[in-house]
Amino acid sequence: MDTLVEARGVQHAIGTRGILTGLALSIARREVVGVAGPNGAGKSTLGRLLLGFLSPTSGTITIGGTDPMTYRQSHGVGFLHEDGGRGWEHATPRALLALHVDDPGALTRDPICRTLGIATHLDRRVATLSKGQWRACQLAMVLLPRTAFLLLDEPEAGLDPGAQGRLHEVIAMRAAAGAAILVLSHHLDSLATVAQRIHLLVRGGFQDQIDPTEMSLAALRLRYMRGVDAVLANQLMRGRAA
């Protein structure tokens, strides 16, 4: 396995409140790894640590053998985050894509752009795009630079079923081309489609690792619920005992 991303014993706390409690994670090139968990589990914090936007309280994270911030600044990363385009209302997708590619003239010929179907939106202002159209343009910004590490935070948010199918297609294209991809989501059906393994993150810790090819979606949902419930019940019991 050609491991690109390696995290060991990662803890993160804000003041006395622990957000992550000793995570270990590795992602190889050509691999899509999913992290599922309920709201507040620590998925976004994990993402910020992997991007070098935050530093762990303890533990180590390396990407390509170096720390995440150095890696991001020297190689670039693809980071899909959830926002409604605020701040870019007066920009056009073409100008935004020009930030990430050397040859903006070749945009419409790129297979990722063609798959995402964004050619007709390129010269419209972001403020005039629908949520799904803006999401498709964001995906293009993240996937077009061909960075080796991609972090997708809730990538299916705002996409209709057809667009979700195209999303899965472009993720598979980038993985086949050698990218290491981490998808943070609580959409189990989407994760089951694209990820080779899914980590269940609850209250800052990985509680379970699931191979989605080994079970049905219903069984996956059951295992997710059991994993979440077990941790919450355990914490409730400890709280009562204290």
Binding site: Q73, S74, G76, G78, G87, W88, H90, A98, H100, V142
Partner: protein, 252 residues
């Protein structure tokens, strides 16, 4: 927004240009600039002090609006995460953004300064006219550079209260002049602390130095004028590094 122009820029300049072009308050900034020009054009030469006050304070305030606004725009979570994921994103983007802002500041400054100078009364017959204009030109040039450095430093470092911080920094010499003796500070300490403030007073004495002022005056003016850009460059670098490496994501 000129997307076709932006995509033709060299790749290194696209992010700073896009940050400037997508800043939302261009309308109010241009309206303030136009209002300054109209005000200056309507003032006659008998109100020279008012003209000079506007000349000295209007351009830095306009520049502060532009640079403070653009850096606040850059700090927005959605904007910043788009910029930050590019390879090579970092300090260089910040310095290029300041370079573009400096060019814009110059464009704003020229009509305002031109109108203000046009409205200035001529010196009395006893004063050598070319000498008076030479003196004014030296002062205005030094003042333009100092005010730009002050504004740029404050805009990069501060996230809130940008205007208050700038006024406070500019008022340091006056505060020291009053508070220093009251607090029992020695003259040397007060003078040393004054080197941390923008050297507008030194700019006003620069022409005297160039004409052959005393050694003591030359030492103080030259030291202040040379150390201030170094201080600003260090503070701007620290501010940009903080913005790029460990930003606080904001979405006002």
């Amino acid at each position: 927004m000129l997307p076709h122009l932006l995509v033709r820029l060299p790749s290194a300049w696209r992010a700073p240009a896009l940050l400037l072009a997508t800043w939302r308050r261009w309308g109010s900034m241009l309206a303030a600039c136009l209002a300054s020009v109209v005000l200056l054009a309507s003032i006659d030469g008998t109100r020279a002090e008012l003209v000079m006050a506007i000349l000295l304070y209007a351009p830095p305030i306009l520049a502060l609006m532009v640079m403070g606004g653009v850096f606040a725009h850059w700090r927005r979570a959605s904007v910043w995460t788009t910029i930050a994921q590019r390879a090579g994103a970092g300090l260089a983007d910040g310095w290029r953004l300041l370079g573009l802002a400096a060019a814009l500041y110059l464009v704003l400054l020229l009509p305002i300064a031109g109108l203000a100078l046009q409205n200035m009364p001529l010196p009395s017959p006893a004063v050598d006219v070319p000498h008076a204009f030479e003196r004014a030109a030296v002062f205005v040039s030094a003042w333009g550079i100092i005010s730009f450095l002050t504004v740029a430093t404050v805009a990069v470092l501060a996230r809130r209260g940008v205007a208050g911080l700038m006024i406070g920094w500019m008022a340091v010499p006056a505060v020291l002049a009053f508070a220093g003796p009251a607090m029992g500070l020695e003259k040397e300490v007060t003078e040393s602390l004054a080197y941390l403030a923008p050297p507008f007073h030194a700019a006003a004495r620069l022409h005297d130095v160039l004409m052959g002022g005393s050694a003591e005056l030359t030492r103080r003016v030259v030291t202040h004028l040379l150390t201030f850009p170094i201080l600003c460059a260090g503070l701007i670098t620290l501010g940009l590094q903080r913005l790029v490496n460990a930003p606080t994501e904001v979405d006002p």
